[in-house]
């Protein structure tokens, strides 16, 4: 920036998320400057933003002490200026992106400190599939926009050390050495606040000494602690290696592991047989196995649909209790009681009844809204012996699973879906992948499952079938399916999907091959 002045206020912006302690961090910075006898001004926009919104704190420090300025008083701004920020502190990586977008990070002067963890926004969290923001673009831009970046998962650092993130950030800010205050000015700011002084000083020291190159590597290493996989002795390894290309091995191995746990070895044979016919077809049309790999992933999930038996099985898995204890941070000497929120209804009952009874009951309930809506809310204490035994008994029903109503219904759906995949493969790999992906619509429980299934069925009926039978031009095929799927996942009310399907059926009607 064109500026004849040599000495000017040092400008700092802190971008945080409501409830993260951005206000405390900003008051520490102010007090550190005050301790050093420097003119300092800060301001903030809390208001409603403090309730989970983005919060912004802006601080200016004039690097000459009040004493030596005499009667002169710097005029300090209340707004961060475009191209006028020396240090930007983002407590979360998206907030760094927002600051760049606003022009508060510029290559000529801005030191950008950011914790790289994610706090997902409501739009990302409530997406029906995966609505997470892709960080790649942001990372590229950040590197080129800042004078220097200081990126690290500082929240993880804070967690591992049992301190709060804002203390670590304060330490980092002091540690990068671009503020005109001394170490004891910073530490004194924490001391004078009188709240959690010891832990905040510890956090400060960790941040102060944080080495952004070395410590970050070590950290990444620690974070990516792979789940313990003691059962990594892979069954069916030989068959997977011999029958399938390399691209499928990893996924199929996982699929096999899941199916063994779900139903046993015989069920795995069914799984691999089904995939064998897909790979044969894919090879015939010159594919490299990509479609088979994705089918393998989806098929494993579909074949391990979540019925009451599965729920009971997973709720009684060895290790679950210890996992929960770790997750809720129960101390060594602290007993816990786990209450499971279950609400079985007719549907769940049908799913474990033998096919004929189940079918009859399902039909009967279909015509009676009250019956369909009947559920029994149970809060089951699964840490009591009786509660656990009940769940184990339910899980034990799995030996009869293959005769249940739900099992037969699911297999019918799976077989039809695989047939579609097979037909689609003769058209093109792209269309086949799209057909495979449609399986991801069917997930969840109760209403969610029903809605997913309905969406799947309408996409199948209105796009996939016309496409496979040649009534819909093939060149539109893959895109049409993908659009419909995105629409189905885009809103839970189903209005977007209806619109897309309407458009497609117009196409079908006007198609010359009709």
């Amino acid at each position: 920036m064109h500026n004849p002045e040599v000495v000017r206020p040092i400008t700092i912006q802190v971008s945080a998320i409501g409830g993260e302690g951005g206000g405390v961090l900003s008051s520490w910075i102010v007090n550190a400057a005050k301790n050093a006898g420097l003119p300092v001004q800060s301001t903030s926009i809390p208001g409603v933003a403090q309730r989970t919104g983005a919060t912004i704190y802006y601080i200016e420090i004039y690097p000459v002490s009040i004493g030596s300025l005499g009667n002169k008083r710097p005029v300090m701004a209340l707004y961060p200026g475009v191209g006028d920020i020396d240090i930007m502190v983002a407590s979360e990586i998206i907030e760094a992106g927002r600051a760049i977008s606003n022009g508060f990070v510029t290559p000529d002067r801005t030191h950008l400190i950011a914790s790289t963890h994610r706090v997902y926004a409501i739009g990302e969290r409530s997406d029906m599939g995966d609505g997470r923001y892709d960080l790649k673009r942001l990372n590229d831009v950040a590197a080129s926009r800042a004078k220097k970046t200081y990126f690290g998962d500082l929240r993880e650092v804070a967690r591992q050390n049992g301190v709060s993130l804002n203390a670590v950030l304060f330490g980092v800010l002091a540690g990068i050495g671009h503020l005109p205050m001394k170490l004891q000015d910073f530490r004194g700011a924490i001391e004078v606040s009188g709240i959690a002084v010891e832990s905040n000083l510890k956090g400060f020291d960790i941040g102060y000494d944080f080495n952004f190159i070395e410590d970050r590597k070590a950290l990444v290493h620690r974070v990516i602690e792979e789940e313990d996989r003691q059962n990594s002795q892979v069954a069916f390894g030989t068959r997977i290696r011999e029958d399938f290309p390399k691209i499928c091995h990893e996924i199929l191995t996982e699929g096999v592991r899941r199916l063994i746990n779900y139903q046993g070895h015989a069920y795995v044979e069914v799984y691999l047989d089904r995939l064998s016919s897909i790979i044969k077809k894919e090879r015939k049309v010159g594919g490299d196995g990509k479609v088979t790999a994705e089918t393998g992933r989806q098929l494993a999930l579909r074949m391990t649909y979540e019925d009451v038996i599965r729920v009971a099985q997973l709720k009684t898995m060895p290790g679950r209790l210890e996992r929960i204890r770790r997750e809720v941070k129960a101390g060594e000497s602290e007993p816990i009681i786990v209450v499971d929120y279950l609400k079985p209804g007719i549907e769940e009952l049908c799913s474990i009844l033998p096919a004929t009874f189940g079918g009859y009951l399902a039909n009967w309930a279909e015509r009676r809204v009250w019956a369909k809506r009947s559920n029994f809310g149970i809060r089951l204490k699964s840490t009591t012996i009786l509660g656990y035994l009940l769940l184990r008994a339910l899980a034990g029903l799995r030996r009869w699973r293959c005769g249940t109503y739900r099992y037969l219904e699911e297999q019918k759906l799976i077989v039809n879906w695989l047939k579609d995949v097979d037909t689609a493969l003769s058209m093109s790999g792209e269309v086949a992948i799209e057909v495979v992906e449609c399986a991801s619509l069917i997930k969840g429980y109760g209403d969610t499952y029903q809605r997913g299934l309905e969406n799947y069925n309408s996409i199948r009926e209105k796009i996939i079938m016309p496409l496979l039978s040649g009534r819909l031009p093939a060149e539109n095929g893959g895109d049409a399916i993908a659009n419909a799927r995105a629409a189905a996942l885009g809103d839970s009310e189903g209005t977007r999907l209806d619109l897309v399907l309407q458009e497609i059926s117009n196409l079908v009607a006007h198609s010359p091959s009709e």
Partner: protein, 713 residues
Amino acid sequence: MERSFKKEVETLRIGEGDKFHGEGILAVTKALLQSGVSYVGGYQGAPISHLMDVLSDAEPLLEELGVHFEVCANEASAAAMLAASVNYPIRGAVTWKSVVGTNVAADGLSNLASAGVKGGALIVVGEDYGEGSSIIQERTHAYAMKSSMCLLDPRPDLPTITRLVEEGFKLSEASNMPSILELRIRACHVYGYFDAKDNVQPIYSGKNKISEAEFDFSRVCLPPATYSQEKHKIEHRIPEAIRYISENNLNERLDGEVTKIGIIVQGGIYNTLLRALRQHGLADSFGSSQISILVLNVTYPLVSDEISEFCVGKDAVLVVEEGQPDFLEQAINAILRKQDLNTEIVGKEVFPMAGEYTSEVMLRGVHGFLKEYSPPELDVVEALNEIDRLFAERDEARDNIGDNLPSRTPSFCTGCPERPIFSALKIMEKELGSAHISADIGCHTFAALPPFNVGNTVMGYGLGLASSAGLNPNFHKRVISIMGDGGFWHNGMSSGVAAAQANGNDGVLLVIKNGYTSATGWQLLPSSLRDRHGNKREMSIEKVLKSFGISWLKTVRSYSIARMVKALRKAMTTPEGGLKVIIADGECQLARQRRVRTQVAERIAQGRRDIRTRFGVDEDLCTGDHSCIRLSGCPSLTIKPSSDPLRTDPVAHVDNDCVGCGTCGEVSHAAVLCPSFFEARIIRNANIFDRLLWKIRRKVIAFLAPGSAMADS
């Protein structure tokens, strides 16, 4: 209260020779005491809530000085409180959030301003305009003009702000007009320093009471006095105000070397202007500018002579005025026209008509002005090019990042008792079809944002029920009105409930009772359990409603979603006529946590048994559909990457901020979502019985578990 100011209150005692360090609004409080104020009142609202909180914490000091502090029922009562200064020479100050609070106060203000004041009357308004504001974007300026009140808009540094507080009282006394001190949100929260003075004991106060009642008909708003009051404004008050402003240099003229152009700016945005000039290389960090600036610390009434003297001889003058209509620009043009001066006034041509003047808006505006009007002797070409380059590079970076950065809308806090109410509403709507919801002002207005998207109209604080009056008889099903307990006491019980009862409204009212005016920072209400001295209170919403003759009245714990759904269903479908009221009862979780946390810490320290509750999701049962999030939106109910290599969608996850309110479990139960949720009760300081039972259970469960000695089937 949002914050305790016990520590800061001590700084209110400092005197001559000391430096005051603190927030803007705290500095205003100090300035009030330095001005010898006798009484202070107001109604909370961002960004002036802290003024009320500070005074509430400063009770011992106020007692020493004999200053009365009142938490008013609403802004209208606060405005009416200034009546004390009509007949008697005592100074009073009231405060509220503008513009909405000023709207509520308008009736009182008109009468006050018409009667005129003897003692200084100061209204401190927190102008919540622009970024992050949740209110209507209108200007307080219009009120000052229509009611003839002085409007102070000081430069946002503490010495100027505090000086203008004292001058505001004097100006009010000199002109008999009430003064409004307008502080923008960033100025309220600005941390800075100023040289303190001693507090002043008011002449009349609780310590030295007024002994004679004054009757003066000319101060009563009845004809013919009303007409003569209006005349008095024109002939006496406004000229007196102008004389005082001018004689005491309340506006500041900062002359620079450049003679051909100048800038007139509202005081409140002077600092932003100066930064923009510095970025153009035209000013230094101490306020010395090459272009002359006239800073209007008083924006109404304008001093015509100051304006014309500043403009004379200049080719062009930039008027930097935030908001619309452009009252100042119009007035300045009129002044110059009358004096036959041909200086060109540039304002909204280079600035946006509406919206806040952020640093970017200011930089672009000044840039636009200089590009066109900069005289040849001023070398700004290089600076202008550099700023163009700056914006071009910024825009490029913005394009590269993309416009899909996830936005963070405000939402209910973790464990908020209002969330389950809206979950219940959504579940009810699934059953009975969508309803029309008349929303109200409060934290509950956030229900209109994702994930709930509930609330069709918002008409003002406490007006949820009143705003259904026209639609309810014309809508195919009962309209549901929302009202918080804050809105209820502010005006809703009369404007809403009493009116609905009297007119035979057949709708449904949902009163959200959390015990505080929480959106403004947990100030107490008449129905709060205890007053600020800790004494029990007897005022209850239920009793009021019963006394109004409401017969269909249910109180439901807000976390009991199933029961709330049932109550809503009944209210919507019962054949019974008249207003049906459901009180959703649940204390603000932030306030509760703040209280409970210390209590629990004490219990734990004493070694006493305590159960901590937390919720969780079984990751392997979660299929990644996120219905639970769409029906709750709790910040601690988030997502994480699935550790299952076969699942690509992220799974639901409860993080460690969970306070165990149970809403997620209740939602998954009431909406029949999925069996993934569990509640974990952690027993701390477990007794011997707990530990024994735990030992046995753990052993037996390990024995029964698949893969153990009992073996899998």
